[in-house]
């Protein structure tokens, strides 16, 4: 009885304390909320840091004009405000909502934009659009710096037209515009807009893939840092040693992955880019070609971000395209897995425009997409230069799958990922051990030789840690992912020798 009494007391006191703490916390939150509010310093927009949200490729063709010399700071301000005018108009046409139009169009021009948006809203029409490149000529800049006349030529972009939320068509454009901007309230606002001309879209030539035939290689991640190839702690020596092993296997190609966020999104992380170049240098020394998979872990595909992915792409492709170790560009790893969440249409539009963007930057290296299955590999087969697919199904059906794909196209085909985990642990009923893996590769190499399949294995090493982004948090998936290697921390697995001693090995 006495014990109970003490327990009750403890319980009541604890509840009392927590209740009070809760009440005090609540009151403090209310007070804190009431104390927040508009800061008068924010009125001037001085503290608003500009983030990357719309970065089409802008080229200033000329700033020579009879009015007044253009100052760098004003040029930048005009460019930003002009692009923002496009951006807010794109958003307004997409959402049929006129937010932001006020800031970037003068009163008269605003009426024109708003009228079209009202019309579209009434007809339930939604236009998703983005511009991708601008070529601006400054025709005139007035002496007092308040009137600017621009001609923006070859404004390229894409728009998708929806009616009643149903996708109607996608249209690419390449137009010339004349723009008169006025400086009002500190914003360069559009006063006049006039489409001067519409050009045919330039078609992009296919690139004959060189070095894709007879591709034998593997997907590469460093042993200690899978999915983190450009980690600070990976030294040149590690890469050198790994590449020597790959060379010893008589393979000629590696596939590496560049994370979109890892490399800094639109603003490229130069340190990581330097490490990427170091990797290419080492591959070059080991006489290995590198297939670069771009946009790893990117999953948005929204048209409003296309200019950002293009900016990322431009920095990477321009700094690597002249490197002799680069073999080809793989736009994205297994994008078909995002069809369900992001919409097939949205993913394919992004891929298609990104292929065009790569080809504009680099007319030498072929482009592919690493589809997760041979069935998915039929998507955009006209756009890519060679077709890539991954195969993790029954090995016996590989030949059939490969040949069915081969029938649909004359383009080269690469089996970009194949492998078997040697994992027989708690989470599997009847898993595969290292011998099974060796047998798997033996059988695979027979099929490969018979059907002349270009292939990249998954992968060189077993990994200790698998990032959650890769295989989720479920232990049976994570563990499986960790044992795909043909080498582990103790040394080589039997599969290693199977691969090394294959009859189809390169000289």
């Amino acid at each position: 009885m006495k014990k109970n009494k003490i327990l009750y007391r403890i319980f009541i006191i604890t509840v009392f304390i927590f209740l009070n703490a809760g009440v005090i916390y609540g009151i403090s939150q209310v007070i804190a909320y009431l104390n927040t509010g508009a800061d008068s310093s924010k009125m001037l927009h001085l503290d608003v840091a500009r983030t990357d949200y719309y970065l089409p490729d802008v080229t200033w063709v000329s700033i020579n004009n009879p009015g007044r010399p253009m100052e760098a700071a004003n040029q930048q301000k005009i460019e930003q405000d002009y692009l923002d005018a496009w951006y807010v108009k794109n958003l307004a046409l997409e959402n049929n909502n006129i937010d932001g139009i006020y800031d970037h169009y003068t009163e008269t021009a605003r009426k024109k934009v708003n009228a079209l948006i009202e019309y579209n809203a009434a007809q339930k029409i939604s236009i998703q659009s983005t511009t991708l490149s601008h070529h601006i000529t400054l025709n005139f800049y007035s002496t007092d710096g308040t009137v600017a006349v621009l001609t923006d030529r070859q404004v390229t972009g894409v728009e998708k037209i929806y009616k009643d939320h149903v996708f109607l068509t996608q249209r690419e454009f390449n137009d010339d515009y004349r723009i008169i901007l006025l400086l009002e309230d500190g914003f360069w606002r559009v006063r006049h807009f006039e489409k001067l001309a519409a050009h045919q879209n330039t078609s992009i030539a296919q690139i004959a893939p060189v070095g894709i035939e007879k591709m034998q290689g593997l997907n590469y991640y460093p042993e200690k840092h899978p999915w983190d190839t450009f980690n600070d702690s990976i030294k040149k020596e590690t890469l050198k040693a790994d590449f020597e092993i790959i060379k010893d296997l008589k393979l000629n190609t590696i596939r590496i992955f560049i994370g979109y966020e890892d490399l800094g999104k639109a603003a490229i992380d130069n340190l990581k880019l330097k490490r990427l170049k170091t990797l290419l240098d080492q591959a070059q020394k080991a006489d290995l070609k590198v297939m670069i998979t771009l946009f790893d872990f990117y999953g948005d595909y929204d048209m409003n971000n296309w200019t950002l992915t293009n900016r990322h792409l431009k920095s990477i492709v321009n700094s690597l395209k002249d490197h002799p170790a680069v073999l080809c560009w793989d736009i994205k790893n297994e994008p078909d897995l995002d069809f369900e969440n992001r919409g097939k249409d949205r993913v394919l539009s992004w891929l298609s425009q990104t292929i065009k963007a790569v080809k504009q930057l680099d007319s030498l290296h072929p482009v592919t997409i690493g589809w997760s299955t041979h069935k998915a590999a039929l998507h955009l087969k006209e756009d890519v230069d060679f077709i890539s697919y991954h195969y993790y199904q029954d090995l016996e059906d590989l030949s059939k799958a490969h040949n069915s794909l081969k029938k649909t196209t004359l383009k080269p085909i690469v089996l970009q990922e194949i492998g078997l985990p040697s994992y027989d642990g708690f989470w599997t009923f009847n898993g595969n051990d290292k011998e099974d893996q060796a047998l798997f590769y033996k059988q695979f190499l027979e099929t490969q030789k018979r059907d002349s399949i270009n292939y990249l294995l998954w992968t060189l090493y077993d990994f200790d840690t698998i990032p959650q982004d890769v295989a989720g948090s479920l232990p049976w998936r994570r563990n499986k992912q960790a044992y795909f290697g043909i080498m582990d921390s103790t040394g080589i697995k039997p599969a290693y020798n199977v691969i090394k001693n294959r009859s189809s090995r390169l000289p």
């Binding site: 007035s142 006039e194 489409k195 001309a197």
Partner: protein, 412 residues
């Protein structure tokens, strides 16, 4: 093995059937498309002038069943829209709304069915040069300086009644008026605008601008012409007398300050007067100009001194220095015979023998201990307290208005 052998023919047969089937459906579809392509077409709109009545597009041929699948996509300067196909008197038509047809520029259109383009084209809308609205003028800078270097710029953007830019080569008459003189120049529109540089006149005043095109005109815009940098000026002193009486006010004034072209400085131009006296004390006073003149005031010193004064318009120009001398008003200090411990100084008299103004400072110095007193009716008095000062004979030093007197006093 037997199983596998069976697999192959079954597979082949299936594939063949599938192929046949797909081929037949494909040809059907293609035929359908062809029908659509051949049987639905519109009369492509031609280049024309902008209108706020919309443009009607008629079909040259159509198949009633297919019309419902058609979408007409049109893209003008401000964006894209999709137009419905309307039925009117058994005729199908497309009405391009004013939201598109009001704005000059290139228009692209596309007739699609089921995601496939059936017909496409483009046409141009020209601005309506027969119905003009206004000439929008922009003038800047709005204040200029009357010299040979400065200028203002007039930008004219004429627009038609639907607010479209006019074609290149349109002549705009740009005018400006200054002091009754009107000047006119004809400028041609290029890229939608035209501009004119107006050189600054050499006289101050208001410059009024305006543009016209046929019967339409702009609003009036005005630029002010301000005087150029001032020429060096002179300063003068002006006072009732030059005695250091600590009471009279002296005026320091400039002559009329002008720029090199003879324009009087704008009212409110600030002139700073820097003053130094012979005791090396410095001070300033400022005055703003009215009609080019600036006046500053200062109180006469209490003791004879010499001032050096200089007038400066910051960042522009300064005057030569002038010197002002002040004489003492007091010849001597009279100290009245001592009664007990009270000392009475005065009456102090000025240059006419009159009593000095009230409030003149008088210093009594005894044992290095100074007391400052102010005169009332020319007299100051002070009683030394024997509690703080020991009795005895002391030497008292009396000073006022630059004159000093010594007197031995007995304190009890």
């Amino acid at each position: 093995m037997i199983k596998r052998n069976l697999h192959v023919p079954i597979f082949i047969v299936t594939v063949l059937i599938a192929l046949l089937f797909s081929c037949s459906t494909a040809t059907q579809k293609e035929e359908e498309k062809r029908i659509t392509t051949y049987n639905c077409s519109i009369k492509a709109p031609v280049d024309q002038v902008v209108t706020n009545a919309g443009i009607v597009v008629h079909f040259t041929s159509f198949v009633r069943d297919i019309v419902e699948q058609l979408e007409f996509i049109i893209s003008g300067t401000y964006g894209t829209t999709v137009l419905p196909i309307q039925l009117d008197n058994e005729q199908f038509k497309i009405n391009i709304p004013k939201e598109i047809t009001q704005h000059a520029g290139r228009i692209n259109w596309q007739l699609i069915a089921g995601g496939k383009t059936i017909q496409k084209g483009d046409f141009k809308l020209f601005s309506n040069t027969n119905a003009l609205k206004t000439v929008e003028n922009y003038l800047g800078p709005r204040s200029i300086i009357a010299n040979n270097r400065d200028y203002t710029m007039l930008v004219s953007i004429p627009v038609d009644s639907l607010d479209n830019l006019l074609p290149d080569g349109t002549n705009v008459s740009m005018r400006h008026q200054f002091k009754g003189v009107i000047q006119q120049e004809i400028h041609r529109v290029t890229a939608g605008f035209t501009w004119h540089k107006i050189n600054s006149p050499l006289i101050t005043g208001r410059l009024i601008t305006g543009s016209t095109l046929n019967n339409i005109s702009s609003t009036e815009l005005v630029a002010d012409v301000f005087p150029d940098i001032a020429r060096p000026f002179k300063i003068y002193e002006d006072s009732n007398h030059n005695y250091a009486d600590g009471n009279e006010i002296i005026s320091i004034k400039t002559d009329q300050i002008k720029d090199p072209n003879g324009n009087v400085m704008s009212d409110g131009t600030i002139v700073t007067f820097f003053m130094t006296d012979n005791f090396n004390q410095r001070w300033t006073t400022t005055a703003s100009t009215v009609n080019g003149y600036a006046f500053a005031k200062a109180l006469h010193p209490e003791k004879p001194s010499t001032w050096t004064v200089r007038g400066v318009i910051t960042g522009m120009v300064e005057s030569p220095e002038i010197e002002i001398k002040f004489q003492s008003i007091l010849k001597e200090i009279t100290i009245q015979p001592q009664e007990s411990n009270t000392i009475i100084v005065g009456p102090l008299t000025s240059y006419l023998g009159q009593v000095v103004p009230d409030g003149i400072q008088v210093s009594l110095k005894l044992n290095d201990k100074e007391i400052i007193l102010k005169t009332k009716k020319g007299i100051v008095s002070h009683t030394y307290d024997s509690k703080t000062i020991l009795p005895g004979t002391y030497e008292l030093k009396v000073a006022s208005l630059g004159v000093t007197a010594l007197k031995a006093i007995d304190l009890k």
